[in-house]
C-alpha cells in the first residue's frame, strides 16, 4: 500500500496522461465530426492517421524538417480525405449506416495493407517534434514533449471550434449535420459538407498520428490501432455527438489509464485495455449517452 503520496510523481503522471489523452482527443473529435455528419463511426480513422504519418516520415527522409513535413502532410491529408469520401463513401451515401460502417472496415484493411506494401514492414522512427529536455515547474520536472503535445491538441480543437462557431462554412456544416433535408432547401450542398467533414477528420488524424509517433521511438504500420481504440472509447465516454464531451472524455481516459498503469500493479499491460473499457462500460450504464451526450428522443 502507498503510505506517503509522492505528489511530484502524481503530477508527472497526470501530465503524461493528459499528453496521451490529448492525442486521443484529436482523433476522438475526428470521430465526432464524421459521426455527426453521417451517423457512422469511421473504423479506418486510425489507419488513415497512420498513413499520413508515414507520408510525413517519407518527407523527413527527403530533407524536410519535422514541422515543414507536418504542415505539408496535414494539408495533403485534408485533400486526401475529401478525395477518399468522393470515391468510396459517396456511392453508399444513401445506404444503411451498417453498410457504410462496413465500407470503412474495408477501408481499414486497404489502408493498412497499402502502408505495408509501400513502406515495407520494418519499424521506422520519427524526428522529435519538441525538445527532449525536461522543464522544471515548481521543482517538478515535466517533459517538454508532453506539454507540447497537450498544447497542440488543445490548439487543434480550438481552431476547429472557432471554425464551426464563427465561419459561414462552419455554420453550413453544422446545419447539414443537424438536418440534411432542410439544409438542402436553403441551398447548402450537403454532399459537399460531408466531404469537407472527411477532409477535416483526416487532417485531424494526421495531427494525431504525427504527435503520437515521435515519443514512441519506433513505430510500425499498426501503431495507431490501440490509439484508435482509446479515442473511440474517449468519444463514447464523453458522448459521441458532443465534441467537447469527446475532448473531456479522452483527457479523463488518458489520465486514468496512466495512473492505472503506474499505481495499480496487478492490472499490468495485458489487462489495461480491458480495465479501461470495463470502467467506461460502468459509466455508460449509469449515463447511457455518455457524460455530455444528448439523450435522443424520437417521435414515433
Amino acid at each position: 500500500m502507498v503510505f506517503a503520496v509522492d505528489w511530484a510523481g502524481v503530477a508527472q503522471q497526470v501530465v503524461a496522461g493528459l499528453s496521451s489523452g490529448g492525442i486521443y482527443a484529436i482523433l476522438a473529435v475526428a470521430f465526432v465530426l464524421i459521426y455527426r455528419a453521417t451517423g457512422v463511426v469511421n473504423f479506418a480513422q486510425g489507419e488513415l492517421a497512420m498513413f499520413s504519418t508515414f507520408v510525413a516520415w517519407t518527407l523527413t527522409q527527403h530533407g524536410f524538417g519535422y514541422w515543414p513535413a507536418f504542415v505539408v502532410t496535414v494539408l495533403a491529408s485534408f485533400a486526401g480525405g475529401i478525395a477518399l469520401e468522393g470515391v468510396v463513401i459517396r456511392p453508399v451515401e444513401r445506404a444503411s449506416v451498417l453498410t457504410i460502417a462496413i465500407v470503412t472496415i474495408g477501408l481499414f484493411f486497404v489502408v493498412n495493407g497499402a502502408a505495408f506494401w509501400i513502406w515495407s514492414p520494418e519499424v521506422k522512427s520519427m524526428p522529435n517534434a519538441f525538445s527532449t529536455r525536461p522543464i522544471r515547474i515548481a521543482g517538478v520536472a515535466f517533459s517538454i514533449s508532453d506539454l507540447g503535445i497537450i498544447g497542440v491538441s488543445l490548439l487543434a480543437v480550438l481552431v476547429l471550434w472557432l471554425f464551426f462557431r464563427f465561419t459561414k462554412l462552419g455554420l453550413a456544416m453544422r446545419a447539414a449535420a443537424l438536418n440534411p433535408e432542410s439544409s438542402r432547401l436553403t441551398g447548402i450542398r450537403v454532399s459537399w459538407t460531408i466531404a469537407l467533414g472527411w477532409g477535416l477528420a483526416t487532417a485531424l488524424g494526421a495531427v494525431a498520428g504525427l504527435m503520437a509517433a515521435p515519443p514512441l521511438g519506433s513505430f510500425d504500420q499498426n501503431f495507431m490501432q490501440p490509439i484508435l481504440l482509446y479515442a473511440f472509447a474517449g468519444a463514447v465516454l464523453g458522448g459521441i455527438d458532443s465534441a467537447l464531451g469527446a475532448v473531456i472524455g479522452s483527457l479523463v481516459l488518458g489520465v486514468f489509464l496512466n495512473l492505472l498503469g503506474t499505481y495499480v500493479s496487478w492490472v499490468g499491460t495485458d489487462l489495461r485495455q480491458a480495465a479501461a473499457l470495463a470502467v467506461i462500460l460502468g459509466v455508460l450504464l449509469v449515463r447511457p449517452a455518455g457524460l455530455l451526450g444528448t439523450t435522443v428522443v424520437r417521435r414515433v
Binding site: 463511426v41 453498410t99 474495408g106 484493411f109 489502408v111 473499457l277 462500460l281 455508460l284 414515433v300
Partner: protein, 333 residues
Amino acid sequence: MSRVLRVATGVAIAAAAVALVLVLPHWLSDVKAAEFARAGCFFIAILGLNLVTGYTGQISLGHGALMAVGAYTTAILTADHGFRDLWTIPLAGLVAMAAGFALGLPARRLSGLYLALATFAFAVAMPALLKRFSGLTGGSQGINLFDQALNRSTGALGHVHVLGRTVATNDFLFYLTWGIGLVLAGAAWLLVRGRIGRAFRAVRDSEVAAASSGINTGFYKTLAFGISGFYAGVGGSLFVLVSNWFVSPSTFGFDKSLLLVVGAVVGGLGSLAGMALGALFIQFVPGWAANLSNAPGAPSVFFGAAIVLVMILLPGGLGGLLRRLTEPLTRRL
C-alpha cells in the same frame, strides 16, 4: 396459394442445400474440405449474429468473444474432464448462451454506438482474460487436444468410423459443421417466422412502437443475444475441431469479431442463404487475395477492396443479389 408456394420453395431450397452438403465432399480435395469445414463454423456464428443484428437490430462487435467461450468450453471439458469432444458441442452452446445473455444485459440500456462499444469491450478483453486465467485456459500457449486428449478427439488419427463406413477426417468435419449448420439454420428459420421473430423485428423497426404494443423490449433484446450466443458457442466449439484440435487466445482476437460482422453484412443481413455466402466470403476471399500477390500488405489491400466493392455494388449484400435473381423465378411460379 402464395403461402403454399412460399413454403414449397423453402422446402425445395432446404432439400437442395442438404443434397449439396451431402455430395460436395466427393468433389473437394482434402484441404478444400477442411477449409469448407472452417467456413461452416463461421456460418453458424454468423447465423447467430444475424439474429441479433439482422432481425433485432442490435449491433454486436463481440461475437468473436462468444465463439471463444464456446471454443474454450470444448477444449477444457475435453482436455481436463474426460468428455469426448463431440459431446461438448451442445454444452459449449449452452455456456456461450449464458455469456450471450450477460452480453445482452447492457443492450437493455444502451443502443447504437454505445452498445457497439460495450460489445467491442468484451471482444477486446477476451484474449487478455484468457491469458490472465492461465490455470484454466493454458494461458497464451492455449490448449492442444491433440497432445492432451488424443483418444477423445474424434478423427484426430485421420479417419472416422460412422455407421459402419470409414470417412476421411476432413470430410467428416465438413459433414459435421455443415450438418449442424443446416439444422441450426432451419431452427433460425422457424424462430424468425414465429412469435419471437415477430417481436425481434418489432424491436428492430421501432422500439417505442414495440413497447407500446406490449412487447417487453429488454427481454427480447437479451433473449436475442442469448440465442445468438448459443449459435456462436457451437461455431466456436466446432472451430477447435477444425483447427487441428487446438485453441489459443490469439485465435479469437477482436479481428475475428469484426470479420464476423463483415461476413454478416456482406452476406446480407436478414437473409439466411446470404449468411452461407458471407461465411464463404470471409473464409475464402483472404486466401484468394493472397494468391494475387504475396507482397507484404497486398492481400489485405485486395481483401479490403473486395469488401468495399461488394458494399458499393450490392448494398443489400450477396443475399440481396440472390433474392433479386430468384424473385422473377418464384413470382412466375
